[in-house]
């Protein structure tokens, strides 16, 4: 399989969130995503990473968050964000758009992820913790252009 993988391992500190965001965005753009689609993917990866750090590991720097990215130029990108925390049930998260939740300070991360990528899956890892899988397709036009137009 001629596909590239990128694996990031970061301590559970929010200052590393920008690194995940930057790597995801950069990888997506290098692999042919338009700027806006690359930003969307990066924003989804950002939310999943924040959750792993904050909810999964309670910001304990000794615990590591793993972010895996798989892609081939011209195809979609798959990002997995893994933590070793207690896990959670996404069905039980309240809808932040509901009138009674709109003034909450938090609770919008899952909504953002789902808005910014084509598919979001939440899986409990056998070894404990959560795996959040984000899938984003190469948008049509970009896919067609990807090879020729590279400067």
């Amino acid at each position: 399989m001629t596909e590239a993988t990128i694996e990031l391992v970061i301590p559970s500190e929010v200052r590393y969130v920008d690194l995940v965001h930057g790597i995801a965005q950069c990888a997506a753009q290098t692999l042919g995503f338009e700027e806006d689609a690359a930003l969307d993917l990066a924003l989804a990866a950002r939310e999943a990473t924040i959750n792993a750090i904050v909810h999964g590991h309670r910001r304990d720097p000794a615990r590591k968050v793993q972010v895996r990215l798989r892609a081939a130029p011209g195809n979609g990108i798959r990002i997995e964000v893994c933590d070793e925390g207690p896990g959670f049930d996404p069905e039980r998260a309240p809808d932040p758009r509901a009138r009674e939740n709109r003034l909450r300070d938090s609770g919008r991360g899952l909504l953002l992820m789902r808005a910014f990528v084509d598919e979001v899956r939440f899986e409990r890892r056998r070894e404990g913790g959560m795996r959040v899988v984000l899938l984003k397709k190469m948008p049509g036009r970009a896919a067609a252009r990807k090879t020729e137009e590279k400067e």
Binding site: V14, V17, L103, D105, L112
Partner: protein
């Protein structure tokens, strides 16, 4: 993120530039608005024109500012949310919470005398 404050009549306009994200922009926003509220300013207009994006922490801080102002009898309104920021306000239905303006003079006038 950079934030600078200016006043037009008795409205305090916070010009924001950059991104409102966890641990950085959200902190800047919180501090600026808290400073204004502590000084007794009640009419606050956040100029989002040059904010490129926000994450859930940044959006949460926007809401927190709104609530903090309200507790003190003040108001926070928004000016000119740009592409991604506009999309986020729509997505989260916060466009129904925040009064939002495209033009600064209209925004200022909306606070009343």
């Amino acid at each position: 993120m950079k934030a600078s404050v200016r006043s037009v009549n008795d409205v305090w306009i916070v010009d924001l530039q950059g991104r409102i994200t966890i641990g950085q922009g959200d902190v800047v926003l919180r501090e600026k608005v808290q400073d204004l509220l502590q000084m007794g300013c009640k009419k606050i207009l956040l100029n989002l024109e040059k904010v490129s994006y926000m994450d859930s922490a940044g959006i949460g801080e926007l809401v927190a500012c709104y609530k903090r102002a309200k507790e003190r009898g003040g108001t926070v309104k928004l000016l000119n949310p740009s592409g991604k920021v506009y999309d986020l306000l729509q997505l989260t239905k916060l466009e129904e919470v925040f009064e939002t303006y495209r033009k600064e003079d209209e925004a200022v006038a909306s606070f009343g005398g």
